[in-house]
């Protein structure tokens, strides 16, 4: 097991045969109280605060919300954020699958080191990641590049923090693949590439999509790793989370809440879509 998204395994469920009980029982009083406590806890901690954001955003009515969301600065930040996140998710889908493949099917000295290194971006404090990237790619870079205050720098930071997501969702699926299906394809004359394209890829596509969606959601909201190298240039390298922060600092809470709501909605929609796709794939797989 690794540090990165164990949370992606949510679907696992109790493995008993179809038609057998899943082992769960209805609530009794003691557990019912526990449920009440859990609900209270989650409400105070999660529900209420998130609801407050939405309420604040729409406090001035829909027009107020829309105006705040589409102000020049907010819109520019949102555009940068969404496009970067999509790009980063797409790149991760490809390279993450490749890395997962190498980790599962290949063996070489130092593979365990690679496994550990992949988890670092997930465990590292985001501000440290930001400093690390600024040191290597900002001014005074030993490489001689300077990507401070460029979109390139922003994307680099996002790639850094989203590295583990696709790798860790695809890896378990690859490990669990039945090898005899691949052998069957080989015996029928399929080349390695054809076997990958027609047999393996369909099987791991849901996992790739899942990892990409998680990477997208993470990139949408990322702050600490980006803030240093981005420089926060309005209309150029300011991402939405930085815009929201600056609005909070200026006590413009309604404007901050508007963009925050947009970020929430977009991330939730993507994760919801992913859930539907995974259920559909499970029924057909």
């Amino acid at each position: 097991m690794t540090l990165a998204p164990a949370v992606a395994r949510r679907g696992a469920g109790f493995r008993r045969g179809a038609g057998q009980s899943d082992g769960r029982v209805p609530l009794r009083t003691a557990a019912g109280l526990g449920l009440g406590a859990a609900v209270l806890w989650l409400s105070l901690l999660v529900l209420l605060p998130l609801a407050a954001v939405v309420v604040k955003a729409t406090g001035n009515g829909w027009s107020g919300f829309w105006d705040a969301l589409t102000s020049r600065e907010a819109l520019s930040a949102l555009r940068l954020t969404v496009f970067s996140s999509i790009g980063v998710a797409a790149l991760n889908a490809i390279i993450g699958t490749l890395i997962a493949w190498v980790l599962v099917r290949d063996s070489f000295r130092g593979k365990r080191v690679v496994e550990v290194v992949i988890d670092i971006p997930f465990a590292l404090p985001t501000i440290v990641a930001g400093l690390v990237l600024l040191t290597l790619y900002g001014p005074h870079s030993p490489l001689g590049v300077n990507w401070y205050a460029t979109t390139r720098g922003v994307i680099l930071a996002l790639l850094f923090v989203t590295l583990p997501f696709v790798v860790r969702t695809v890896q378990p699926v690859l490990i669990g693949l039945d090898r005899d299906v691949e052998e069957a394809a080989a015996s029928l004359g399929a080349s390695r590439f054809t076997t990958f394209r027609r047999i393996i890829l369909p099987a791991i596509l849901p996992a790739i999509a899942g990892g990409a969606a998680l990477a997208f959601a993470r990139a949408m909201g990322e702050y600490g790793s980006v803030v240093l190298i981005s420089g926060g240039l309005q209309f150029k390298t300011e991402i939405s989370s930085m815009y929201v922060y600056s609005q909070i600092e200026n006590d413009e809470l309604a404007a901050a809440a508007a963009t925050a709501t947009a970020l929430l909605v977009i991330s939730l929609v993507v994760i919801g879509l992913l859930d539907i796709v995974q259920r559909w794939a499970a029924r057909h797989g």
Binding site: D180, E183, A184, A186, S187, L188, G189, A190, I199, H284
Partner: protein, 319 residues
């Protein structure tokens, strides 16, 4: 022509799965590799199919040296114990897979797949997904899929092992009839001796990585080369210094020449047959009788009877 695996040796992690094994299968014949689990038969099959490389030895298919050629180019059809169905493809697409990979024209694919669907009686299931099929249907699909590319050799790895007994019997008969129709050189692996005896033209008994005996089912059953083969292919019991089949022992109510005296300890009716357990001077043989035989002898526990091997019975010296 046919298939030959010659002096094959293979070791996994220090353990010899196959030790200098040589097996030949005549063209168009149906041969069973029979033996206990872990004895090396699946490994041999996979080596013939190109899914494993032997440490030593060679494989010849239809006169051409196949060693070193990967499975993709050997033109062998392989059927797996757990079907290895392509879960995301329909039955039709599964069967068509080998042809699609070879880029055959659509019309040709359609004709061949339809032919095969009829052959395996899955015409109505062409558009279903494998998950909607029963185990037996899935295995028929797997066979059709393997046959679609007209392989020179068909290899089946415990093809009925995952199925219920009744379905297994049905498919066994069906495989035999299919082979009679299609005549592809076939090797199949099983640990079920009844299956091997019923289906195959020829048996090779493999145990602990070595070939114990090769021959027709009758030859192996009636003239086993050693006590392992004898015990594996059918029931064995010991009468005096010899091993003999329980149904090859004649039972007499009165003293008879060359017969051993024994006392009946237990009688058990199993369906049509009666199993009689006895105690002789130094052994405890059991005899298989038909109901009629048992009734005409009026056997009861405690009776004394005389046992003698039947005239053409095959016996082996007990080791």
């Amino acid at each position: 022509m046919g298939i030959a695996a010659i002096h094959i040796s293979k070791t996994f992690g220090g353990v010899a799965a196959l030790d200098d094994v040589t097996v030949e299968v005549g063209s168009g014949r149906l041969t069973a590799l029979l033996g206990p689990s872990g004895g090396g038969k699946s490994t041999l099959l996979r080596i013939v199919g190109g899914l494993e490389e032997p440490d030593a030895g060679s494989v010849v298919i239809d006169g051409i040296a196949a060693t070193g050629i990967p499975a993709q180019r050997r033109n062998v059809g392989f059927v797996f114990q757990h079907y290895a169905a392509f879960k995301h493809l329909s039955v039709y697409r599964n069967i068509a897979f080998g042809l699609e990979v070879r880029k055959r024209p659509k019309a040709e694919i359609k004709q061949r797949v339809t032919e095969l669907l009829e052959l395996v009686h899955l015409e109505k299931f062409a558009d279903r997904m494998p998950s909607q099929l029963s185990g037996g249907q899935r295995q028929r699909m797997a066979l059709a899929r393997a046959l679609a590319v007209e392989p020179s050799v068909l290899l089946l790895d415990e093809p009925f092992g995952a199925l219920d007994t009744k379905v297994r019997k049905e498919l066994r008969d069906w495989l035999r009839r299919l082979h009679d129709e299609v005549h592809v050189t076939t090797i199949f692996v099983t640990h079920d001796q009844d299956e091997a005896l019923e289906v195959a033209d020829e048996l090779a008994v493999i145990n602990n990585g070595r070939v114990e005996q090769v021959g027709s089912p009758d030859a192996l059953y009636d003239h086993p080369a050693n006590d392992f083969v004898m015990g594996f292919l059918g029931p064995v019991t010991r009468l005096g210094p010899r091993l003999i089949r329980p149904h090859d022992i004649d039972v007499f109510a009165a003293r008879t020449s060359d017969a051993v005296e024994a006392k009946v300890t237990r009688l058990q009716r199993v369906g049509f047959e009666v199993r009689a357990e006895l105690r002789a001077s130094d052994t405890e043989p059991w005899v298989q009788l038909t109901r009629g035989q048992a009734e005409s002898l009026a056997l009861r526990p405690g009776d004394t009877v005389w046992l003698r091997p039947a005239r053409d019975a095959a016996t082996l010296a007990a080791s």
